[in-house]
């Protein structure tokens, strides 16, 4: 049996760990609330943007806009959104594995699959297996619109110069605190939803300057918004995942402390018993 001292030492160290995981859980909970608020705040903008886009695309006649045009997809860009920091359970690794699987499954269809990563964790996971076209770190922890716009511009430029023909974004979307959904979303070319739905509304808008002009402006903005939204969702998911991970870590630590305390008490009792026995037998021998 382990000595009393060594058990005591372990209890202290597990207690310290529990304190840290508990604190991290609290921090994540606070950050999660803010991140969730951000997601909710961004929703009306993204939604309205989508509606305007749909109604515009539905009214578009004649020439196709290059961002809407479907080219023969030979080269694919996968944009992987992960977090910069770890200790959040399977949040990043699950996403990276899903990306890996996706690349394997689609390798036959495309001549080339390039990767772009947002967030350090995804980059570190994937860089050993594939060449990373571009990595953008240090923006995900504090998502702001300007950063998302810059990424979007990069993506759009590459698309227009035919560096790639299709862009798919991979991110963790926030469902509940406990669960994040791994989401693949096609960014480019933009697929307008069923046109019929738009026609039913049947509102004749006055467009100014013209449908085409508005569309040229709104399409890149839409990409920006989509990326921004993905970043916000990913951050909310990250904090949620970290909170759950830290919660279970704290629980495990408490369980461990319980077990160790039991062991400690037993060891102590055993020590006392042997000591007593020694004393009694000593006394007996003197008597005798």
């Amino acid at each position: 049996m382990a000595s009393l001292k060594s058990i005591k030492k372990r209890i202290v160290s597990v207690k310290n760990t529990r304190q840290i995981t508990k604190a991290m859980k609290m921090v994540s909970a606070a950050k999660l609330r803010r991140a969730q608020e951000n997601v909710v705040a961004a929703r009306p903008y993204a939604q309205k943007m989508g509606e305007v886009l749909q109604s515009l695309a539905g009214n578009l006649q004649g020439e196709q806009h290059p961002l809407l045009e479907k080219r023969e997809a030979k080269k694919l860009l996968l944009l992987v959104v992960t977090s910069d920091r770890g200790l959040c359970g399977g949040f990043n690794s699950n996403l990276c594995k899903a990306g890996e699987r996706y690349i394997k499954e689609n390798a036959a269809e495309f001549e080339q699959i390039s990767l772009m990563t947002i967030g350090r964790k995804g980059y570190e996971f994937l860089k050993n297996r594939h060449t990373i076209h571009k990595n953008i770190s240090n923006i995900i922890s504090k998502p702001n619109y300007q950063a998302a716009a810059m990424v979007a511009q990069d993506v759009i430029e590459g698309y227009l110069s035919e560096e790639y023909d299709q862009v798919v974004m991979l991110y963790n979307s926030f469902r509940t605190v406990m669960t994040q959904d791994i989401t693949f979303q096609q960014l480019l070319p933009i697929v307008p939803e069923a046109k019929g739905a738009v026609d039913e509304v049947g509102i004749e808008y006055i467009y100014e300057p013209s449908v085409e002009d508005l569309l040229t402006q709104i399409l890149p903005k839409n990409i920006e918004v989509q990326i921004f939204k993905a970043m916000l969702e990913s951050v909310a998911g990250e904090h949620g995942a970290r909170m759950t991970a830290m919660d279970s870590a704290s629980k495990n630590a408490s369980e461990m402390i319980g077990k160790l305390t039991l062991q400690y008490n037993r060891a102590r009792q055993a020590a006392i018993t042997t000591e007593l026995m020694e004393i009694i037998s000593g006394a007996e021998s003197i008597k005798g």
């Binding site: 009306p44 006055i206 300057p209 508005l214």
Partner: protein, 155 residues
């Protein structure tokens, strides 16, 4: 300024004695800035300034960097906007913008500093340069901010 396009079956049926109002919503990626019933809105579009009154026809336009003013119960409020969309439908106005600042929230000193920076940069740059456009927009933003803020200060 263009005349208000009379919309959809004017005069409005069942006109009440009370003045008609429109719902004005201003939304940015970070938050919903404004959600109020207003009497009148003017804004700067791609093709110049325009005004909207209740009963306007469905209308969609893009906005320049510029001012948006609305009147509510006779009180005019102005905001500095940075690129966006303006949609009117059924007396409901939705404005999608990247940033919207109320006159009181504008930091005049910062705007002035930004103006100086943009001017300096523009002097050095070639108009063909990619960055030229960025600084041009920055210059305009600073100007609009200052204009909006100084208007509020005069009142």
């Amino acid at each position: 300024m263009r005349p208000n396009q009379g919309g959809r079956g004017l005069p409005l049926q069942g006109t009440t004695t009370m003045a008609e109002k429109m719902k004005l919503e201003i939304v940015t990626p970070y938050s919903k800035v404004l959600d109020e019933m207003v009497d009148e809105v003017t804004a700067t579009g791609k093709l110049g300034e325009f005004g909207v009154l209740p009963g306007h026809a469905p209308f969609l336009t893009s906005l320049n960097i510029g001012e948006l003013c609305y009147k509510k119960d006779g009180v005019a409020v102005c905001m500095a906007l940075n690129w966006g969309y303006f949609e009117v439908q059924d007396d409901k106005i939705i404005v999608l913008v990247e940033t919207a600042e109320r006159a009181d929230d504008i930091d005049l000193e910062r705007a002035k500093a930004a103006l100086g920076r943009a001017e300096d940069a523009l002097k050095k740059l070639d108009p063909e340069d990619k960055k030229f456009k960025i600084y041009e927009a920055a210059l305009q933003r600073a100007l609009v901010r200052m204009q909006t803020a100084s208007k509020a200060a005069r009142k």
